[in-house]
Amino acid sequence: MTEVLSEQMGSGSHSGALLEVDDLHVEFRTRAGVAKAVNGVTYSVDAGETLAVLGESGSGKSVTAQTIMGILDIPPGKVTGGEIRFRGVDLLKLPEDQRRRIRGEGISMVFQDALSSLNPVFPVGWQIAEMFRMHRGTSRADAKKKAVELMDRVRIPAAKERVNDFPHQFSGGMRQRIMIAMAIALDPEILIADEPTTALDVTVQAQIMGLLAELQRDSNMGLILITHDLGVVADVADKIAVMYGGRIVENAPVHELYKNPAHPYSKGLLESIPRVDHKGQELYAIKGLPPNLLEMPTGCAFHPRCPYRRDNCVTDVPPLYTISGTRGSACHYWREVIDEGER
């Protein structure tokens, strides 16, 4: 982080975590109605920590990330409540020029689809170097030198020769490495990785996850890993936030969640995945469909699919009950869920 930023943000004077999302609400106003994509999300990440945000399509996990980065399309999107505090300062209240400076230097992001995230008409080295030219005013020659160093750091073979190549000349795994190089160019304190390996083959996925873990260790970054893959989460996360229908339904340290989930949705997810290390019988399937954001179910959003449902689930929205200092579950009957399933 540069001195300019540290001054602005009064470094070290706040008491909370490095990045805190607090009761965030985001909605999209469309012609078909108001889609409530994020309904009160709260999570936090500290330096060197890995938070996995787990959820299916439409659960609001990417919208939350876009809001943190300040790249949400407004309109149709609109932040209707909550705070995002980075080093104790609410990003949502900062003017655009200051937010822009935090983007890349404070918080940075890696996207799912590297081919559509890179500009096809510029060489990759130029695109990486742009980070230095724009944010630091580095000269073209120096910026290019730094781009080569970064390409080396993310293990692109023959970086010096390939710095002038275009995105289409790289394989999917190499493109994702270039995206990562751009994201870590300015030594961010928080890296958000939105489904970074979903489009990749498993052997390449293992390479990329290994690279991310190594970079995180070296620079003590906080990592927010957004994914739907329970296997990847189990491998790298310190703590997990499970999202459903725009809310966090369970948060827990990784070992506790896999051992003994406290929300029927997380429990159902864990039971519905096939395993490579043993062959099971019929898979448990969560019945029904994810909710329509335009017509959210009343009460608990999961109640139409939930085997633990009672009458009050249909009427009362469950708060995120505290189970212990580090665990919470948004289920009225979390005690029952947790007692039943010691895996």
Binding site: E56, S57, P157, S171, G172, G173, M174, D201, V202, T203, V204, Q205, A206, Q207, M209, G210, H228, D229, L230, G231, V232, V233, A234, D235, A237, V254, H255, Y258, K259, G268, L269, L270, S272, I273, P274, R275, V276, D277, K279, G280, E282, L283, Y284, A285, I286, K287, L289, P290
Partner: protein, 338 residues
């Protein structure tokens, strides 16, 4: 599901090379993409053969060859002893009735302007002798019910359904002509985790009900293990290892299979610090210019001179009971050892 010994599909030395040409007016062939390069296997009645491999290994081209959507460069695909690759006209049409396909992407494989009834009933238009015209609507509704959709939704359009429901429509269409073989090309990879399980359970139920044989193509090794009786591992157009699911997953002998399996993240954080990983370097080479000898040797930690000179055959090697295409095949349990 126990498969019978009767093989209904025999694939022998199947090869598909796509020519690479240069020049606009006078085209010259300057090379070939060796998408499928000598593949042989049998498929038995009622069994599921899983095919795994990374993108570009030729799994989808193989599916197209089996459906006779592409003509092979050489080799044969026999269904009940008759070669589909040389069949033409009416005979080909009759043979295709027996092999149907479920596609990967339920969003693009259904025509948005056709109703569900038209989509599922279209096979009856093409093969008009299967169900008489008057009974078709009734039959389509039965099919919808079989795959767990509401038969009253027959007049709806694809966009009115969710991803999982659309995949069910695709499956109903595949079942319409009562085939013996269904080729599933990545049928669940576009679906959410909670919906994947629903569709896989449906596929298994249908297999038991109609004694179907599946060729199940996927890149997700956990999904393939769950559904398959036997598994073939492909790398750059060749099958490198073939065996029953327990043989492949618990005692793999080919280094590529071992690397692939050890790269799969296990959804259990216990013991992750001590887990042994084989991380392959680099990407698969281009199928236009594969390495000499064993295609895998450029990424293999066991490679020696012989691997560059001599392509290993897919055969049973000492120390294991299933065929493997590696000169140095050796059992190593990478999944359970973790």
């Amino acid at each position: 599901m126990k498969a019978s010994a009767e093989s209904i599909l025999e694939v022998r030395d199947l090869v598909k090379h796509f020519p690479l040409t240069q020049g606009v007016v006078v085209k010259r062939q300057i090379g070939a993409i060796k998408a499928v390069d000598g593949v042989s296997f049998d498929l038995h009645r009622g069994e599921t053969l899983g095919i795994v491999g990374e993108s570009g290994c030729g799994k989808s081209t193989l599916a197209k060859l089996l459906m006779a959507l592409e003509r092979p460069t050489s080799g044969s695909v026999r269904v009940h002893g008759r070669d589909i690759t040389s069949a033409r006209g009416a005979e080909l049409k009759r043979m295709r009735r027996n092999i149907q396909m479920v596609m990967q992407d339920p969003y693009t494989s259904l025509n948005p302007r056709m109703t569900v009834g038209d989509i599922v009933g279209e096979p009856f238009e093409i093969h008009s002798d299967v169900v008489p015209k008057g009974g078709r609507r009734r039959r389509v509704q039965e099919l919808l019910e079989v795959v767990g959709l509401n038969p009253d939704h027959i007049n709806r359009y694809p966009h009115q359904f969710s991803g999982g429901q659309r995949q069910r429509i695709g499956i109903a269409r595949g079942l319409a002509l009562q085939p013996e073989i269904i080729i599933c090309d990545e049928p669940v990879s576009a679906l959410d985790v909670s919906i994947q399980a629903q569709v896989m359970n449906l596929l298994e139920r249908l297999q038991n009900e109609f004694d179907l044989a599946y060729i199940f193509i996927a890149h997700d090794l956990s999904v393939v293990r769950h559904i398959s009786d036997r598994v073939a591992v492909m790398y750059l157009g060749k099958i490198v290892e073939l065996g029953r699911d327990a043989e492949i997953y618990d005692s793999p002998t080919h280094p590529y299979t071992q690397a692939l399996l050890s790269a799969v993240p296990v959804p259990d954080p216990e013991g992750r610090e001590t887990r042994q990983r084989i991380i392959l370097q680099g990407d698969p080479p281009s199928p236009a210019n594969p390495p000499s000898g064993c295609h895998f040797r450029t990424r293999c930690w066991k490679a020696q001179d012989i691997c560059a000179q001599q392509a290993p055959a897919l055969e049973v090697r000492p120390g294991s009971g299933h065929p493997s295409a590696c000169h140095f095949a050796e059992v190593r349990d990478v999944v359970n050892a973790q």
